[in-house]
């Protein structure tokens, strides 16, 4: 990159040109001139007539430093700044403003209800309420992030690193729910009623509702009720589940544009629950569904949480991240159809092969190392990235991932004190 030419060569280089800019500049001696700093090479300079001005300025600077007499260039408006030696730091104060456009707070949504509010939960969780991007100094977040851990109503196949934590409870959703709250510190539990899928077990809505009751009895944290993802079956399954969980302010997952969302919205209203508004990585679809839930179905603002879809690290997280960040920025800047708290199916990270495969299927790759460490960090980074985009609630699976995500989000939230660490000598630290 750095091309060095001699001043004597420069003279001949410009010799053939009618270079007005060089008039009045006297250069003597054979000084080495480094053109790397201004990003030129002699050929370029030759081709670009105008840049002779810059070169001339540069020459003047160099010459001046070296003590050669130089006159001011005629007609040049640019002031030449020769490198100076300073003996004291120039005093300067740093300041930066807040973002004025962020005037529209994110809706607060309460999940769970205690006995005083018609439920049986021991405590509730509040999502939302933000006035800025997450963890920004503009305005502290009123509520921290929360984690709800996945429980399934039947044994399912899962990555080995995940499965080893649940082998003892896989047959009992109630025991499974207890374990994630008691041992893994889950703020909430998600009961996924996947066995209701006609292609799996076709469990009846009434049977599925019993599982929900069991889970509600097993734990006293707020819960999320998830269907199987079958668009024909989910509305009736969620409706029945909502009925048996009346008054508990569960999060019903999910209403989407490709199923009978009105029926789910109706169940939420009738039995006092919150609707999860799920769309697929598409901000306009999210707006549309939220609008329909509010205007057409009459769901109150404080009963809507959004799931704009989570794609795993390396498998579309760029879309998921930017989609969420755009939604959050739009909400903060005044879009009343997008200023709701968000939820992420962070467990999707385990769909990435990097999280669970023994080794790379590609011979060209460097060694992938032990997968038991790769999996949890994949879930952590997926969740963490979305937390920075504004996600409030995380649906997760691996206990280590839960623990680390909790720690970092609480750190950025501002509730983690630490012993003062001195980093001023990190360079010479022995690690």
């Amino acid at each position: 990159m750095t091309k060095k030419i001699k001043l004597s060569e420069l003279g001949s280089l410009f010799g053939d040109l009618d270079v007005k800019a060089l008039e009045g500049v006297k250069i003597e001696g054979d000084v080495e001139l480094d053109l790397g700093q201004v990003g030129l090479n002699p050929q370029m300079a030759y081709a670009l007539g105008h840049e002779t001005t810059q070169i001339a300025l540069h020459l003047m600077n160099i010459s001046r430093i070296l003590g050669y007499p130089v006159d001011r260039m005629p007609g040049s408006s640019t002031t030449a700044t020769a490198p100076k030696r300073l003996s004291r730091l120039i005093d300067s104060k740093f300041s930066v403003g807040r973002i004025e456009e962020w005037k529209n707070p994110i809706q607060e949504v309460v999940l769970g209800a205690t006995s005083s509010d018609g439920g049986t939960r021991k405590s509730t969780i509040t999502l939302g309420g933000e006035n800025a991007l997450p963890y920004y100094f503009d305005s502290p977040m009123p509520h921290r992030n929360h984690i709800t851990m996945d429980v399934f109503d039947m044994p399912i196949s899962m990555a080995k690193a995940v499965k080893s934590n649940y082998e003892d409870v896989m047959e009992s959703p109630a025991e499974w729910a207890k374990k994630v709250v008691r041992d893994f510190g889950a703020d909430m539990v998600t009961i996924h009623l996947i066995s209701t899928d006609p292609n799996i077990k076709d469990t009846s809505p009434a049977e599925a509702a019993k599982t929900v009751e069991e889970v509600l009895q097993a734990v006293d944290v707020p819960i999320v009720i998830g269907g199987s993802g079958n668009p024909e079956k989910d509305p009736e399954v969620l409706e029945k589940a909502a009925e048996v969980a009346e008054g508990e302010r569960c999060l019903l997952a999910s209403a989407s544009l490709n199923l009978d969302y009105a029926r789910i919205a109706e169940a939420a209203k009738k039995y006092n629950h919150v609707v999860l508004s799920w769309t697929q990585l598409e901000i306009n679809a999210q707006k549309e569904l939220n609008r329909k839930l509010m205007k057409q179905c009459g769901v109150a603002r404080e009963n809507i949480v959004m799931d704009p879809t989570t794609a795993a690290l390396g498998y579309g997280l760029d879309y998921a991240y930017t989609n969420m960040e755009r939604i959050r920025l739009a909400g903060l800047s005044g879009d009343q159809e997008l200023n709701f708290p968000m939820s992420s199916g962070t467990t999707n990270a385990w769909g990435a092969r990097e999280s669970w495969m023994v080794s790379s299927p590609l011979k060209e790759d460097s060694d992938w190392g032990p997968r038991e460490y790769r999996g949890p960090i994949w879930e952590i980074v997926t969740g963490l990235t979305l937390s920075l985009a504004g996600n409030d609630l995380f649906m997760m699976m691996h206990p280590t991932a839960v623990q680390v995500l909790k720690e970092i989000t609480r750190t950025l939230y501002g509730s983690k004190e630490n012993e003062h660490v001195d980093i001023s000598n990190w360079v010479s630290a022995v690690v």
């Binding site: 490198p83 300067s92 668009p231 032990p370 980074v381």
Partner: protein, 469 residues
């Protein structure tokens, strides 16, 4: 940049629509300058004497808000900074965060060489390319200038990757610079104590330099002072604390500095930012924990404005998420997410080769394609038009259906009777529920492949060719 519409740029162009730039009109070229997909130098007429003033004006109007700084030389040089926006959807972020991994000057030579080789040889295949690591940071642990110089020399003999020379002692930095004089390393760092001597080094050796101070007034003072001295290739390290409230403070500073640079146009502080995630090793003794937290910090500061960082762990469970989160944030959101739907050949498929169905989501398609070609499986891949949505989501959302699968083969004129001897197609494992529908609609034999295309080779051994009914 100071302009945001093609019209503003057009005023400065020759306006002849000569086409030499490859665009049909000057206006089209102007919009390419605005979205930074072309450079001023691509318009030859603009480089002539006649337009020199316009060229210079445009150059300053188009300069990115955050200064671009080059580290290293020639084809191995790496650029950092150069950003114009605070959020990637507003344009795209430029110059992906550069990851430098450390070596210490007290390491035995063989160990040092092995570590440097590990850094330069790491690669991870992804969507048609390899993700790599970028630089080596040589830390002076010994406190001894001559030892440091020896280590720097050894590293530079082992790799062409650009270097960061790390010491707060100007004499040590000088010894290191002497060892790699022409390689344009980044020097770390000038502080409130040593700035005078480090500035001398930056001027003498014409190298970019990091300014370090967690106190933003001090950091700004350093920057203003260096600029005044004529040193413009600056990188700012506002101090990366490994945990707790101090870490939150670091997060605040990254956002404050970048906002000041981009939103408020404070030129004095509009430089690339450096994070040092390896500071987690100052507080965690257990190596997996330290590595995990290092990756967490690297992720936070890749998302929020770190342009270059110094890391320690070379464990795959650190490197893989790190290179992927960087790719996530720096992928240009303007490039299409889809591939053209159709039926494509991998290798040289014959009549007994499998026909594999996937979606036209670019990532899914390239993943399947690379898995098959890397394992030398000759086959056909049908990219079904799912509006660029991946398999699982497209099944749930109704974009991957039997009808759309049939349509893909029909449109491509792919006749199973003529092209294959088996009359079978393979659906992705995650779309197993479509099996019956697809059989009914296409009349073909439908096999269910594995949920991840990385497992196709193993699946083929067991399940291919299809057994006769």
């Amino acid at each position: 940049m100071k302009v945001n519409s093609p019209l503003q740029v057009y005023k400065y162009l020759p306006q002849t629509n000569c086409g030499e730039c490859g665009e049909t009109t000057c206006m089209a070229f102007a919009s390419r300058l605005i979205d930074r997909s072309m450079k001023l130098e691509d318009c030859p007429p603009l480089l002539t004497d006649e337009f020199k003033e316009k060229y210079m004006e445009l150059e300053s109007l188009l300069a990115p808000e955050i200064r671009e700084v080059i580290i290293g030389t020639g084809e191995h040089a790496k650029a950092i900074g150069g950003d114009d926006v605070l959020y990637r959807h507003q344009l795209t972020f430029f110059n992906p965060t550069k990851f430098a991994y450390d070596v210490g000057d007290t390491m035995p030579e063989a160990e040092l060489v092995e570590r440097v080789n590990k850094i330069q040889n790491f690669r991870k295949f992804y969507v048609g390319n390899f993700l790599n690591l970028d630089m080596v940071a040589v830390r002076c642990v010994s406190g001894d200038a001559s030892k440091f110089a020896v280590a720097v020399k050894k590293v530079s003999e082992t790799t062409e990757l650009p270097l960061i020379l790390c010491s707060f002692d100007p004499a040590v930095l000088k010894a290191g610079l002497e060892a790699v004089k022409d390689k344009n390393p980044l020097i770390y760092a000038a502080t409130g104590d040593n700035w005078g001597d480090v500035a001398e080094l930056a001027l003498e050796y014409k190298v970019p330099v990091v300014l370090f101070s967690p106190d933003l007034d001090k950091l700004r003072s350093l920057a203003v002072t260096f600029i005044e001295m004529g040193i413009k290739d600056l990188v700012l390290d506002p101090g990366t604390y490994p945990q707790g409230n101090q870490l939150k403070g670091t997060f605040d500073r990254f956002i404050q500095i970048r906002r000041a640079g981009i939103k408020e146009g404070q030129k004095e502080i509009a430089f690339p930012l450096m994070a040092v995630p390896m500071n987690t090793y100052l507080v965690y003794d257990e190596p997996v924990t330290a590595s995990y937290w290092e990756t967490v910090l690297a992720s936070v500061f890749t998302v929020r404005y770190g342009d270059i960082m110094i890391l320690h762990s070379l464990e795959p469970y650190a490197l893989l998420p790190e290179v992927h989160i960087r790719d996530t944030i720096y992928t240009d959101p303007r490039t299409p997410v889809k591939v053209e739907p159709g039926v494509f050949e991998v290798g040289a498929p014959a009549k007994d080769s499998p026909v594999i169905v996937t979606t036209n989501f670019a990532l899914t398609y390239y993943t399947v394609e690379s898995d098959l070609s890397s394992n030398k499986i000759d086959c056909y891949i049908a990219a079904v038009d799912t509006d660029g949505i991946g398999v699982e989501a497209a099944v749930a959302g109704g974009q991957l259906t039997a009808a759309r699968i049939k349509e893909t083969f029909d449109k491509a004129g792919f006749d199973f009777a003529e092209k294959t001897s088996h009359g079978a197609l393979i659906l992705p494992g995650l779309s197993a529920r479509l099996q019956g529908d697809v059989e009914d609609v296409t009349g073909l034999k439908v096999l269910i492949g594995p949920p991840d295309s990385g497992r196709i080779p193993g699946w083929m051994e067991k399940s291919w060719p299809p057994k006769a009914k």
